[in-house]
């Protein structure tokens, strides 16, 4: 049976909160999993301003994850669900789907590079254009 990394919604009505779990594919969503890897709170939290940390207007979504155990489970072939793929994509542990939040925010940990991210993406786009132009030239040469 396939072992999956997926989200289990154990919280009450109107209060979404998920456990990130390792469970057998066929088991019920909220049943006792093989292992709990962490949590995901989808409700955006307002950051606390302190004397030492200035106010941040941007809200954050809190994810807690045991990265070592996650890497282990991925290593032995556990399949992440779509939701967990998004989270792992942000950490660079899984290839992010194009167009998703993870891909925009971080591909392979690009977010950790900070401001370099946009430059990198631009670089990729330039490379791709160059490749296309080269292909066109080759086609033209072939025609000639």
């Amino acid at each position: 049976m396939v072992v999956k990394l997926r989200l289990a919604r154990l919280s009450k009505r109107h209060q979404p909160f998920y456990n990130i779990v390792v469970a057998k594919d066929r088991s019920a969503r909220d049943s006792k999993p093989m292992e709990v890897l962490g949590t995901f709170n989808p409700v955006p939290q307002t950051p606390l301003a302190s004397q030492f940390q200035p106010t941040q207007d941007k809200k954050f979504k809190d994810i807690q994850l045991d990265i070592t155990r996650t890497k282990y489970w991925l290593g032995v072939g556990a399949q992440p669900s779509e939701g967990v793929q998004g989270i792992l994509g942000m950490l660079g542990l899984w290839e992010a789907k194009p167009g998703t939040m993870a891909a925009r925010g971080s591909v392979g940990g690009a977010a950790r590079m900070g401001g370099e991210k946009e430059a990198q993406i631009e670089g990729w786009e330039r490379e791709r254009e160059r490749e296309r132009e080269q292909e066109k030239e080759m086609e033209r040469d072939a025609v000639v």
């Binding site: 954050f60 809190d62 807690q64 942000m90 950490l91 925010g105």
Partner: protein, 374 residues
């Protein structure tokens, strides 16, 4: 024979009676003259017109408590301008032990705020300088900031009310040349751990001091000889002893009770006092002062360093991913068996627990938060 009418009709017609025309007859008010006064009421008016007359227009800058006047309503102290003594500050004549304590005057509040926010002095320093407890210094700074913000926003403030209250209660003044201490600043509340009586057998030759007692109370092992002053060791100085020490099993850790010298709000003052009584430092006021200031600086630095280290340590475990709408914060946590416990129900591990019932609807569950994070 007159026609009979049903009894219900006779009730509807209003014939003059006690019930319709004399309600006062039913209320025991048989006389229209003024009611005779009770004894207590008579005494009250006698007092208001007699000794109480002097309190009708209260003296300015005085609390005007009853204890300041004699039975005939004469002011006990010599003149109206003489300052109030401690005897005058007892508002309840039958409770001689209650003395009204002073509150901070407006000048003192503003001075505290200025020293902390403008001169950028530490709360600890300002507390020692002005004789105001550290917690109160913090509260004053927050309140004055709030007041300033409200003014800036054009919100109304209850200044006349505050002024009226300040005239009625004793206040601690602020004069630049002469500092009046507001309250004792180095008080130590009784720690609940010390309530118990402990029978602790130890050898008669051992010098058992307050550090050892604190360790016994909190069930911590004995200090190594290198740190035990009784064994010729070199202990940490109380003012430097700010690092918390934990004892107990994982998830059931408690702080080791430090000696009172380290737990008081201003352990530096003890070191300062020791320096002053040191015969080697006699008539070296400058050096004593410099030492004291250096200790304060060292303390502030080490605290700031510890705080920064903690922030860095926490930040190191986090990956922040920016998206257009919000930030995703992924914290690397440990879900090891140590955190979740052997049965997987450890309360310290993150996430909802399995096999543990929600008892929030159970009778007697307290839902009031015990702390507020701001």
């Amino acid at each position: 024979m007159a026609p009979r009418t049903p009894s219900s009709i006779s009730l509807l017609t209003s014939s003059p009676s006690v019930f319709t025309h004399c309600s006062s007859c039913l209320k025991k008010e048989f006389s229209s003259s003024q009611a005779p006064q009770t004894r207590l009421r008579r005494q009250m008016f006698a007092w208001l017109e007699g000794p109480g007359e002097s309190l009708r227009y209260p003296l300015p800058n005085s609390t005007n408590y009853l204890s300041a006047y004699d039975k005939r309503g004469k002011l006990l102290r010599e003149g109206e301008d003489t300052p109030e003594s401690r005897e005058d500050l007892r508002p309840f004549p039958l409770n001689q032990h209650f003395i009204s304590e002073s509150i901070l005057s407006e000048d003192l509040r503003q001075e505290i705020w200025r020293r902390v926010q403008v001169e950028k002095k530490s709360v600890r320093t300002v507390s020692v300088e002005l004789g105001v407890e550290m917690r109160r210094v913090g509260a004053v700074v927050r309140l004055v900031e709030l007041e300033k913000r409200q003014r800036a926003e054009g919100k109304p403030t209850a200044i006349p009310y505050a002024r009226a209250i300040h005239q009625m209660v004793p206040t601690t003044p602020f004069e630049p040349g002469k500092i009046t201490p507001h309250e004792p600043i180095n008080d130590l509340p009784v720690h609940p751990l010390t309530d118990q009586q402990v029978f602790y057998p130890t050898s008669e030759s051992r010098a058992f001091n307050r550090t050892d007692a604190g360790r016994v109370f909190s069930g911590a092992p004995r200090l190594p000889d290198s740190q035990d002053v009784a064994q010729g060791g070199n202990p940490v100085e109380p003012w430097r002893n700010i690092k918390p020490e934990k004892v107990g099993r994982f998830q059931n850790e408690t702080d080791v009770l430090k000696p009172a010298d380290a737990r008081i709000p201003h352990p530096h003052l003890v070191a300062f006092e020791k320096d002053r009584s040191d015969p080697d430092l006699r008539r070296k006021e400058e050096e004593i002062k410099a030492r004291y200031n250096q200790r304060l600086l060292d303390d502030a630095e080490s605290r700031a360093r510890a705080r920064q280290e903690k922030i860095d340590r926490d930040e190191k475990r986090k990956t922040r991913v920016e998206t257009s709408r919000w930030q995703f914060v992924v914290t690397d946590v440990s879900m090891s068996s140590q955190a979740t416990g052997k049965d997987g129900r450890g309360a310290k591990a993150p996430g909802m627990r399995y096999g543990v019932p929600h008892e929030d609807r159970k009778k007697g569950q307290i839902k009031i938060p015990t702390r507020v994070e701001v």
